[in-house]
């Protein structure tokens, strides 16, 4: 049900942008006002949440790691799983951020005949997530050709490598195939398995459908309906130089593409998508496991006033003695 609702929501958003421009001629709203507002919400919201996280006390190490911590010299330490130095932590963070190492550990549990519970590897989620995120990055970087003039050489190089197979014209980008396949797999993964379907919420599907709509409309524009790239670049440059223009050649499908992105941007700081900055601030990943090497004193400890037993005994010494009770110190 939640899958259906989020699909419907995204469809409504698509229709809104399409007919908002095609029928109601709200080009300025969808091409200038909403993009600026969305970017402002994205930047301010993201900064706000990261600053809030930065102000949350994390006084102690949380070594919930999967490796042997550094101890006696003859016990082999898991240097990347349970690092005790800053360098080790950097290695663990790099593996996590660039290669999604913790997803690589994903397992599945199955009830077989018997009944017997068996565990096995499941690398598909890792592969799908990795494929999606890396192609998203490449597509994002390639899109800089619309926002930068002159186009940086690195962006052109990326497009060349991406179009390596030189299929058709405009040349087919491998990342376009991969991102659609990866997103469809990630969606299929939630829908196929009853347990995962039960756990999935509206927000889980919403991000997927938004991204599918975004990539889908882009692919449609590039390979099927075609778009006036020169006019679109005029609009894009107008946005980043703060002198917005809406050329009349820009088609409504482009506004759908842009509007879905704006929704994604504005939604980002309030959603699970904040896992992107969040991964950098995960205490179980970014703190060295050196509890046994260093004493960590909580810097936020409130100086509590204490009254020890010895002091108490001192205070009531005479009374205790008079009552004939035993005393620690005579």
């Amino acid at each position: 049900m939640s899958a259906l609702y989020s699909l419907l929501t995204v469809l409504v958003l698509i229709l809104l942008a399409y007919f908002g421009v095609a029928a109601a001629h709200l080009g300025v709203l969808f091409g200038t006002v909403i993009p600026f507002a969305a970017i402002a919400v994205f930047l301010a919201g993201l900064a706000y949440r990261v600053v809030k996280w930065a102000n949350t006390p994390v006084p102690f190490r949380i070594p919930s790691t999967c490796g042997q911590q550094k101890s006696l010299p003859w016990i082999k330490q898991g240097r990347l799983e349970s690092p005790s130095s800053t360098l080790g932590v950097m290695g663990r963070m790099a593996l996590e951020v660039l290669l999604f190492r913790s997803l690589f550990r994903n397992t599945k549990a199955e009830l077989r005949d018997g009944p017997r519970l068996v565990y096995g590897e499941n690398k598909w989620l890792w592969l799908g997530a990795l494929a999606f995120h890396w192609t998203f990055l490449v597509i994002f970087l390639r899109h800089l050709r619309f926002f930068m003039e002159p186009v940086p050489r690195l962006v052109n190089l990326l497009a060349d490598v991406d179009g390596f197979f030189q299929v058709g014209a405009p040349v087919l980008y491998v990342t376009d195939l991969v991102i659609l396949a990866a997103l469809l797999y990630l969606l299929f993964r939630r829908l196929r398995d009853p347990q995962i379907r039960y756990l999935s919420l509206f927000t889980d599907y919403f991000a997927l459908f938004l991204l599918l709509g975004l990539a889908g409309s882009g692919v449609l524009m590039r390979y099927f309906t075609r778009a006036d790239i020169v006019a679109i670049k005029e609009l894009a440059i107008g946005l980043v130089t703060f002198s917005p223009v809406i050329p009349k050649e820009v088609g409504p499908l482009f506004f759908v593409h842009l509007f879905l992105l704006c929704v994604l941007l504005a939604y980002f700081p309030f959603s699970k998508l904040m896992h992107a900055p969040g991964v950098f601030l995960s205490p179980t990943r970014n703190l060295a496991n050196n509890n046994r090497m260093k004493r960590h004193v909580n810097p936020w400890d409130y100086p509590v006033k204490v009254h020890t037993y010895a002091e108490w005994e001192e205070e009531f010494h005479d009374k205790i003695k008079a009552a004939g009770l035993p005393l620690d110190r005579e």
Binding site: A54, V58, P59, F146, P152, A227, K233, E234, F280
Partner: protein
Amino acid sequence: MRDRGLIFTGLVLFLGLITFPVWYNLASGTSSKPPELKLPTTEKQCVAPTETMRMSHMEMLITWRDQVVRQNDRTYVAADGKRYDMSLTNTCLKCHDNKAEFCDKCHDYAGVKPYCWDCHIDPKLVQRSKG
């Protein structure tokens, strides 16, 4: 841990990177004006309506290539009944004789590098190298 300095550095770095196009365009003095193209002076009309050409000339070129190389069909009949030889160099570049100021200029702006010229020639360059 007291890692606030590190976190704020990361945040500022991210904000700087994500707004990079703004600084880049500011530094190179970019305006939103698209490039001025040198249009043919002798002819008035392209092989298809200008709008179609702007958006879909690459699709047309690939269709032409397939027609020539696979069907041995070299004539293109335009919407207005005019006949053209389906040829990249002999047709497109006959009217658009200044490739550098037309095709290349627009492609540089749009960030596309067609690989066609690995094999196909720009007659102007050939003339120049002949002396």
